[in-house]
């Protein structure tokens, strides 16, 4: 028996299709938890309570992508389990959309980024589900740059705002935090998928593969990309544009962060802008996808099993062009809409549902947490105490009761003792002379 991550093709092909489906599904459930996919995503936004650099490194750039890494590593298994692949694609896509809708109405700067992370992870799973393993890993990489950038940028803003995280109480930070502003803007453009920023290349690769598998995946995924552009520029606009809405004290102390904080922003911004060029699609230049060549050995096994269906160049141009145009329109719309933002109005209807994250936390609490605790206290207070320990103590009491009853035999009356002696003697004789005559005699009597 050996635990190796390079699933040998020879060993894998010995498994039955059902086994592979079960194995891949179970591995995927693990990935769901680690990479915050529906229904196991609620922990990630809550985990953002940690310090911002931790969020940037662990909860955005690296650790949460371990699930994607695992599935990409196991690509041979997934390629052989088309049913699981479809599941992965659907879960990924649903998460991408679902988390994006929640991000639309969050006012905590880190919460927006957290749900954005969940959503982007969804895209990566979509990529894995449609067999675009390179695309998924590519998006892991570009996402790491721009999401780490955005989180650290958020940290810089929070630092400047004296631990204020509510974007409705910010605004107009553009001039006070020029470096943070510029790098944050670059990050927003990258995540929105505007060419030629890095996010464009990786997201495009996933979405094109999705189109090739099933155009519906593409359209839904594209819808999510529009939501992404919208909530990111809502965030940008509320934070950096318009008028300052914080306290006078905060305004007085507004300052750009020290170089130790801005330098990483600049480095990350550089990569957020240019990192996409290691994955130039076939469409622009043949054989220019450096990352694909780099990763080819890892995905060679599954590539041999599938025949990639390529899109017509014209289709790809049309999709890309349309998408980019719409995204730019959304960006302009979001900027203009939230530039003039003044005061928060209470949300109603669907907006309120979104603000409350579709009430999923409450749902889990009602359906899982509370019943579990209820059941546990029933066990603790009733079953354990009354039934099981009750039975044990009951046996003890029964013995005690029996003893008390037997004790009554020792009444101290000589008469009853003599009676008992006689009875015992008779019994003794019966047993001692246990021969047929006596037994027959007894049988005759009764």
């Amino acid at each position: 028996m050996k635990f190796s991550f390079r699933w040998p093709v020879a060993a894998v092909t010995q498994l039955s299709a059902t086994d592979i489906t079960i194995i891949t599904t179970l591995l995927f459930v693990g990935a769901m938890g680690k990479s915050a996919q529906i229904p196991l995503y609620t922990w990630l936004p809550d985990a953002m309570a940690g310090p911002t650099p931790v969020s940037a490194l662990i909860h955005a750039a690296t650790m949460v992508t371990a699930g994607i890494y695992m599935i990409a590593r196991s690509n041979i298994l997934y390629t052989m389990a088309p049913a699981t692949q479809t599941l992965v694609a659907i879960i990924g896509l649903s998460t991408a959309i679902f988390a994006a809708t929640i991000a639309l109405k969050q006012n905590d700067i880190k919460k927006v980024l957290a749900y954005s992370t969940v959503s982007q992870l969804g895209y990566m799973f979509l990529g894995l589900g449609v067999g675009a393993y390179t695309g998924a890993v590519f998006h892991v990489m570009t996402h790491a740059f721009f999401k780490a950038l955005l989180f650290l940028g958020a940290g810089s803003v929070i630092h400047a705002m004296h631990h204020e995280q509510d974007i409705t109480k910010m605004g107009g930070l553009k001039s006070k935090l020029p470096i943070t502003h510029l790098t944050f803007l670059l990050g927003c453009i990258a995540i929105a998928g505007v060419p030629p920023f890095s996010g464009f290349f990786s997201k495009d690769e996933i979405l094109m593969a999705a189109y090739a598998t099933n155009p519906i995946f593409y359209y839904v995924g594209m819808g999510g990309a529009l939501l992404t552009a919208f909530y990111m520029f809502r965030l940008y606009s509320l934070t950096f544009l318009g008028n300052f809405r914080g306290t006078a004290h905060q305004q007085e102390h507004l300052h750009e962060s020290p170089i130790a904080m801005t330098l990483p922003l600049m480095v990350l911004a550089f990569f957020a802008v240019v990192a996409g060029f290691i994955g130039i699609p076939e469409l622009f230049a043949p054989n220019a996808h450096a990352l694909e060549h780099f990763l080819a050995p890892v995905f060679a096994g599954s590539k041999a099993l599938t025949h990639a269906h390529h899109l017509e160049a014209s289709t790809e141009w049309i999709l890309m062009g349309t998408a980019t145009t719409i995204i730019l329109i959304v960006i302009v719309y979001a900027i203009t809409k939230f530039k003039k933002y003044e005061t928060a109005e209470p949300n109603t209807g669907i907006a309120k549902v979104l603000e409350n994250k579709w009430y999923i936390d409450e749902l889990y609490d009602t359906v899982i947490v509370k019943p579990l605790y209820w059941f546990a206290s029933v066990l603790k207070n009733s079953v354990e105490k009354l039934v099981i320990d009750g039975a044990v103590n009951g046996v003890g009491k029964l013995v005690g009761y029996g003893s008390r009853q037997f004790r009554l035999l020792q009444s101290g009356q000589v008469g009853s003792y003599i009676l008992m002696m006689v009875m015992a003697l008779v019994l003794f004789i019966i047993i001692w002379f246990n021969d047929t005559t006596i037994m027959r005699f007894i049988h005759k009597i009764f």
């Binding site: 546990a376 206290s377 066990l379 603790k380 354990e384 099981i388 320990d389 044990v392 003890g396």
Partner: protein, 477 residues
Amino acid sequence: MIPVLLLFIPLVAGILGFFIKDQKAASNWAIVASVITLLTAVIGIYAMPASMHQFEATWLPSIGASFSVALDGMSKMLVLLTAISMPLILIATRNNNYSNPGAFYALMSLAQVGLMGVFVSMDALLFYFFWELALIPVYFLSSIWGGEKRIAVTFKFFIYTFIGSLLMLVGILFVYLHTKDHSFAWSSFTNTDLLSGQETLPFFLFFIAFAIKMPIFPLHTWQPDAYEQAPTATTMVLSGVMVKMGLFAAIRWVLPLFPIATKTFAMPIVILSVIGMIYASLIAIKQDDIKRLIAYSSIAHIGLMAAAIFAGGTLGLQGVQVQMFNHGINVIGLWILANAIESTLGTRKLSELGGLATKAPTMAILFVVLAFANIALPLTNAFIGEFLLFNGLFQYNIWIAAAAGVSIILGAIYTLQMVQKVLFGEVSAVTANATEINSYSKWVLIVIVIAVIALGVYPQPLIDLTKDSVNALLVIK
């Protein structure tokens, strides 16, 4: 000769210990004796030839009982666990004061004699003798130095386990009458003329005794009470070492004696064990008392080992060996923490604690590592053990393994809840004046934590030590 020394040293130390009146002197005496025992065990096991590992003397030749003791892989491991645990326990609780300290420490040493005897006996009557001998000092320790409800609780504990012991005695006689050479020797017991149908009765007579000791659900209710009421040092002996008697005995005196009955009844026993795991874990979630929480957590962990014993298979049985040791030192570590918290803050209630991480950072680090070991996180020793155990269970039945897996999740819930309530959150009125734990407890915990991580990274020594016992079992099956 080595096993005899391991019995003899604590026996002499115990008997002489009764005459010491001073607290510190009694404690020192017991610690020195336990360290000498430990050195004897380590040198004896690792540096002495195999011929030194057994000893036989005539005892009651007329009935075929002999004083036969030996060390094989499993008993070496448990002897080491016993020998290591004693000094750790005694040093960590050195600041606890007892009325009549001489008797307290003497009884602790005598309990060690009983434990060592159980693990090295290769004669059924001798085994029974030590099995009872281990119980008696614990009875006195708990009923004299225990908590408020000690009398009732200790009485229940004693009667409960005593009933089990008597059933086992009947079982021993039953098997004895079926041995070919009318002998109590283990080798005769494993080679009887019992027909397959006749195995059932003695199987259960033995099994119930061990199931109470482990304990297996639903025979567990004595345990949380006993752990809660016994003085902490005794609780450590009870849960760190003494519950291993049940697991050990099932492997030594049930599996090879009644292979057919074991196979026949394995499924219900495994299922009961797994139910017990989940049940105990759920109850642990709702515990407010640290001691009871650890007690139920321990029941859950023991349940997994019990399940793996009866599920059989190389990996599972190897896992039991590894995990018996790991569980022993880990749970002692948790009790040391519970003891430290209770003795400095005067409460064991989670609801009254909080914020200790800022007040006692060293303790917090040690606490967290042990908590991780309790959840069996990778890089802790318990991960290796539980991984092997789950492997064994998985090969036996996938669905049972999956159900058992639920208790891992529940384990994370109650353990992290405990960590959260003790170490984090608001500083409460009780914890406002908290300080670091005393240096005795601290250093013992550091030793345990190092062992937790070392055996988590490299568990091979434990596996090598016990391999022969596992292989011997597989031959019998």
